[in-house]
Symmetry: C2
Subunit: 162 residues, 2 copies
Amino acid sequence: MTASLAIRPATEQDVPLILAFIRGLAEYEKLAHEVVATEAGLRETLFGDMPRASVLIAEWQGQPAGFALWFYNYSTFLARPGIYLEDLYVEPDYRGRGIGLALLRELATIADREGCSRIDWAVLDWNRSAIDFYRKIGAEGMDEWTTFRLTGAALEKLANRD
Amino acid sequence: MTASLAIRPATEQDVPLILAFIRGLAEYEKLAHEVVATEAGLRETLFGDMPRASVLIAEWQGQPAGFALWFYNYSTFLARPGIYLEDLYVEPDYRGRGIGLALLRELATIADREGCSRIDWAVLDWNRSAIDFYRKIGAEGMDEWTTFRLTGAALEKLANRD
């Protein structure tokens, strides 16, 4: 890691920055219409009584350049926790400088320290540059699996059915 | 729900049962060779100082018939926690009695109570009967996404690279 680049844990003061990064990632993923997160919501769920995820901020020459948001998952086959990387994002102006790799490396170090034997994350199938990067560091696509999601009216119906 | 069926939270006394269910699921998924979990490992990670996941046990006429293991995940787009269902399993002798649905319904009730707006889980693409069941209750496949996993030597290499 060069002296230009630093990775640090986010604090509550970073909430506006985190929301801007979330929106930047959503725009890149063509999913901006799905973002309903607010600063208040992030403050409560990330820095309140029961933090639901952890955030790393990457700074390039002191300027915020990207972030990673993660939480613990769990493997029943291993009986061990793992790390799930929900968001990894580097601002367009700062790409090509190894910032994404540095964020992943910091996560790998956390995994090592915390006894987690995996880092998992989801990638949009059209995002070839991301997929190439992930394969280059040795990640493998779980191509036989599909994630299913129950949400909205279907979830409410299931909760209320007798 | 009929009087024959009950869903209850697991306790530490259920650890041998949970391991048997994990092995049963792994065999069904043709992944039994990947199970290295032990009773000691499950006891520590599920019922120790820092529980990493929660377990529901389904009983049919007082006999253990299946289980669900889950933990919280997090949506940055919503700034809200969600539920991730890691394992859902019903013993072969007890299938076709609505036990899987009852476990999902209990999870939907927990989601409702805890302010979670989603339940996510992964399904093997060849498991048509499971996929048909999930679609029937209104779940949708996240077909544009692939999960990537970094583990083993590649994870260690990333953690140790300077």
